[in-house]
Structure formats: C-alpha cells, structure tokens
C-alpha cells in the first residue's frame, strides 16, 4: 500500500535518510564487503602484507575436519534446542490458554527470562551444574553418575542445550499463546459437539491451525541458536571441551581471535552469511504466504 498524498520536497527526504544510510554503510556494507574481500586474501603473521590467494581459504576451510565438526555441532545443537524449546513452550501455552483465573499472572511469570542476557543465562546454568559446587550436580554424583561438563563433550552439549532452551521458552510461549488465542472458539466447539475429546481436538484442530506460528517460530529459533547463543556457549564451555560445543559462529570468533587466521575466519563469515540469507528468504516466502490466508 502506498500513500497517495505526499510531500513534494526534493532535498528533504535525502537529508532524513542520511543518518541511517551513513551508519549502514560504515558499519554494515563496508565491513561485510571487507569480509568478502578478506576471504580471498592471506595475511602474513604481522598483518603487514596480504596477497590474493583466490579460493584457497575456502578450499582449506572445506578440507578442514574441524569445520565439518562445527557444522555437525551446529546442526545437533540447533535441532535439540528448537525441538525442546518449541514442544515445552507449546505444552505450557496450551495450559495457559485454558481460561484459568490466574492465566495473566502465569504469563508474566513465564516471559521474563526473555530479558536475561544469554551470557548471564549461561553463568546461571554452569553454576547449577558445576561438577564440584553445582547444587544439581550433587544428586547426579549420588547416583554415581560421573557428571562433568568441563571434561565430557556430551555433558557440555547437554548443559548448553538446557541453558539455551531455558532462555528461549519464554519467547516461544508468548507467540504460541497469541497463536492459540487467535483460533476461533467456535471451531473447537463444533469439534466437541461432534464428540472429539480434548486430545483429539488438539491434534486435529488446534495443531494444524497453529502451523503458521510453529513454522515461523522454527525459523526464528534456528536463527536464535545460530547467533544469540554465542554468549551462552562462551560463558558455559568456551567452545570446549575439545571443540564439542564449538558452533559455526563460535568458530568464526575463535579462529580470528588475536589476529589468528583472519582469512579463514572471513571465509567462514561469508559461508554463514549465505546460510542466513537462505534462512531469511525461507522466512519471507512464508510471511508472504501467510498474508494470503
């Protein structure tokens, strides 16, 4: 939809756009293009000279088993976090949708973890499950389970997954609740009159009608796991032990740290950009389709 009545100043609109365009060019397009450029270069150890090496950075990236490992870690991490946080949030949202007297209070009590910084969430969870002083690690020890997320890769992964899920439930809960509340009650009543019980109604009526929300949340959650969990991983495991929790984004950070492998890090950035653009494109195609509903 376009406005038919507008101002016809010639210069003013450009002046209004200038602040945003300057910020965008200086801190967005310029660095992004530098990342692309850098991915074709190799710098010497002192960063004084750089030479054009073509696709060499990409070749060594895709020849590096560590990179495939980080891809695998990312896939495992994102599917676990998305599956768990979506299903737990959906369970809570369906209960909160039940016309309870205290529904408002429960909503407030469920959504505040959204405001907790990922890095802080990570600190809370490593404290709870710290092998020597964690309050919840103690019962695990009593069951003579050798819990140690600082040394054992799967334990470390379990811990970052739990922290990331904990942080994401509130967001998914909010959107699921909104989605549930927009389903017309008459449809559910019709189902009830036809003799469908609550479970049957949920799986044959509510769940299919909720699928746009679910799909939207799926994409948002994957993007969340890609980028916003950096703080959690850095606080809980620092990518370790032995790269067991090094996701692709964490590897960009770790490989380029202290002027390390900047070319390789830049090549990874470019690969990530391509993945994110693909994800966003999927999201927008879906948004367009939703408009037609």
């Amino acid at each position: 939809m376009e406005k038919s009545v507008v101002f016809n100043n010639k210069l003013l609109p450009y002046l209004l756009l200038i602040p945003q365009l300057i910020i965008t060019f200086v801190f967005f397009y310029w660095p992004a293009s530098q990342a692309v450029k850098q991915s074709f270069l190799r710098e010497d150890a002192f960063g004084l000279n750089s030479e054009f090496v073509g696709l060499e950075n990409y070749q060594s990236l895709f020849a590096d088993p560590g990179y495939y490992k980080s891809m695998l870690v990312t896939v495992i991490f994102s599917s676990l976090v998305a599956a768990l946080s979506l299903s737990i949030a959906l369970l809570f949202a369906t209960q909160a949708d039940k016309n309870l007297k205290a529904a408002g209070a429960y909503k407030t009590l469920m959504i505040w973890p959204y405001a907790v910084a990922p890095a802080v969430a990570g600190v809370l969870w490593i404290f709870m499950f710290h092998p020597t002083l964690g309050t919840l690690a103690r019962p695990l020890r009593w069951m003579s389970f050798d819990w140690n997320p600082l040394l054992n890769g799967s334990h470390a992964m379990a811990l970052v997954v739990m922290a990331a899920v904990w942080k994401q439930i509130s967001y998914n809960f909010l959107f699921f609740l909104a989605g549930l509340q927009s389903i017309p009650k008459s449809v559910l009543e019709a189902g009830a009159i036809d003799g469908a019980g609550p479970m049957r109604r949920f799986w044959t009526i509510t769940f299919p009608l909720l699928s746009p929300t679910t799909f939207f949340l799926l994409v948002v959650n994957v993007v969340y796991v890609f980028f916003d969990t950096f703080g959690i991983i850095d606080a809980v495991t620092g990518g370790g032990p032995a790269g067991a929790t090094t996701t692709m984004v964490y590897k960009v950070f770790a490989d380029g740290r202290l002027g390390g492998d900047l070319g390789g890090s830049a090549a990874q950035s470019v690969v990530l950009m391509v993945i994110v653009i693909a994800l966003t494109a999927v999201q927008f195609r879906y948004v367009e389709r939703r408009v037609q509903y």
């Binding site: 965008t24 973890p113 809370l124 404290f127 020597t132 606080a235 950009m273």
Partner: protein, 282 residues
C-alpha cells in the same frame, strides 16, 4: 470454554506451576548464592535458604570489586551498560523514524533503492562480520569508547520497518488536513506524526533497551580497558580467572544485578514489551 471439566484445570495449574518453577529455579539459586560467603558456596553443600552475607556481597560487588584480583567494581559496569543500552535504543529510534518518514511520506528518485539498502541489513547480524567491523572501529579510533559500543549496533532495519508499517496505517486524511492548515513536513512530523507514534516508540525502546543491555560478543571484542566493559561481559571474567579461585558469590550477585534492569523493564512494561516483540517480528 468448550466443556467444563474441573480436572483439566487442576492439571493445567500443576503443569504451569511446574513450568514457573523450572523457569525461576536457576535465578533463585543465584539469588541464594549471592547471600552466602565464599566458603559456603564453593564447598558444594550450599543450603537452599538465604544466608547472612547479602549486604556484604552486594556492597563488595558494586563498590569494591574482587578481593584477590584487581578488578573493576560492578558499579562502573552498570553505568556503562546503562549508557550503551539507552544509546542503542535512542539511536535506533532516531535514525529509523526519520528514514521511515522519508520512505513513506515523500516521493523521490531511488526511494525503493534506499529502502532495500536498509532492508537487507535485517539479514546479517553483527556476529557474522565481527572482525571487519572491529577493524572499522579500530580505524575510526573508537575502541573503548561509548560510540564504539553503540554505533555499530544501531545499524539495523528493524526500527525502520516497524515505523514504516505503523505510518502506513495512519489515515491519509490527517496529512490532507494538515496541508490545508498550511503545515509543512516539519510541522506535520512534529505536531501530528510524533504524538501518534508514542506507543510504537515506547515499544521499540523496550525491545532495543533489552537488546542493547544484553549484548555480549561486541562489547567483549572492542573493550580492552576494564573501565569500559559492560556488566554482561564482566561476569564471565570473574569466573575464569587464571591464578586464583573464582568468587562465585560475587559473580552471582553480579548476575542478579545484570538481569535486574531488563527483567524489571519486561515485568513493569509487559504490554509494551509484548507489543514491541510481536511487531518487530512481523
């Protein structure tokens, strides 16, 4: 209600109470840890009831810093976090309301191009271009400055899209009426558009304040002096000290202080928060 079955409500209350328990427990534990002394916390047998060192821990965390390590007190970090979070929120609102105004209420060559140039920034969060952005900041001599903490994070399209969407819903008659009354673009913006946008501005402020406050990777990279670090980046440094035991009780007090402002914003301004969250995702 489709049908009345008392037991479904009981189950619902049970599940929700369990959910709230899961959500609250990690924070409760941190709160408890921040009221005990170092030995109790590190011993691994910390009780689940508050201890008597709360005042002492919070006083030391905020004003003194760690006892063994030379470390910046949290008071300074809180100030840095406030300045950068408010700077990011206001900066984003300022640049995006102006650009949305230009895109919606004016016709000019390259209007669509300008919109797309801004729109594409949605796709690439700062995490994928950290080192080149770091280099830009270093070249501009903005390391360890508030400008360096704030400016790169306001380069994003969310605000512009939100305001654009909102401006589209404002009836055209308002602009016609203002023009008949002789109002120019400044007058219309100031007297009509801005007052109508107050709720949208507030909702965006709430979301962006939380976003800015919770930044981690960016402040971690560009602050080298302890006096410039934000509270979220400061906590981790308390845990992974190289040569002495981490003071968990102070770290937990700091964690509580770090989550207090954004959580308070969500709880107190819940309606604006929900609105902002839903609208920025559209």
């Amino acid at each position: 209600m489709v049908e009345h079955r008392p037991w479904t409500n009981i189950i619902a209350y049970a599940i929700l109470t369990f959910g709230v328990f899961i959500v609250a427990f990690p924070v409760y534990l941190a709160l408890i840890a921040s009221t005990h002394d170092a030995a109790t916390v590190v011993g691994g047998n910390m009780p689940l009831t508050p201890g008597g060192h709360a005042l002492d821990n919070y006083y030391r965390a905020i004003f003194v810093g760690g006892s063994r390590a030379i470390r910046e007190p949290v008071g300074r970090m809180l100030l840095n976090s406030f300045i950068s979070a408010i700077g990011i929120a206001l900066g984003k609102i300022f640049i995006s309301i102006l650009s949305a105004y230009a895109v919606v209420y004016f016709r000019f060559p390259f209007r669509k191009t300008a919109f797309w140039i801004i729109f594409i920034t949605l796709m690439l969060p700062v995490e994928v271009r950290i080192y080149p952005t770091y280099k830009v900041i270093a070249d501009l001599k903005m390391l360890d400055t508030y400008a360096g903490l704030i400016l790169p994070l306001i380069a994003s399209a969310t605000g512009t899209l939100l305001f654009r969407q909102f401006f589209m819903t404002i009836p055209e008659e308002l602009l016609e009426a203002s023009r008949i009354d002789g109002a120019g673009p400044f007058r219309f913006f100031w007297d009509t558009l801005l007052p109508l946008s107050v709720t949208t501005i507030a909702a965006l402020f709430v979301i962006q304040f939380i976003y800015g406050w919770n930044q981690y990777l960016w402040p971690l990279l560009i602050t080298t002096q302890d006096s410039m670090q934000t509270i979220v980046t400061g906590i981790k440094k308390m845990l992974y000290t190289t040569d002495e035991l981490a003071e968990w009780q102070l770290a937990m007090a700091t964690a509580i202080l770090a989550m207090l402002p954004p959580v308070a914003v969500v709880v107190i301004m819940q309606r604006l928060f929900v609105r902002g969250l839903v609208e920025t995702e559209k």
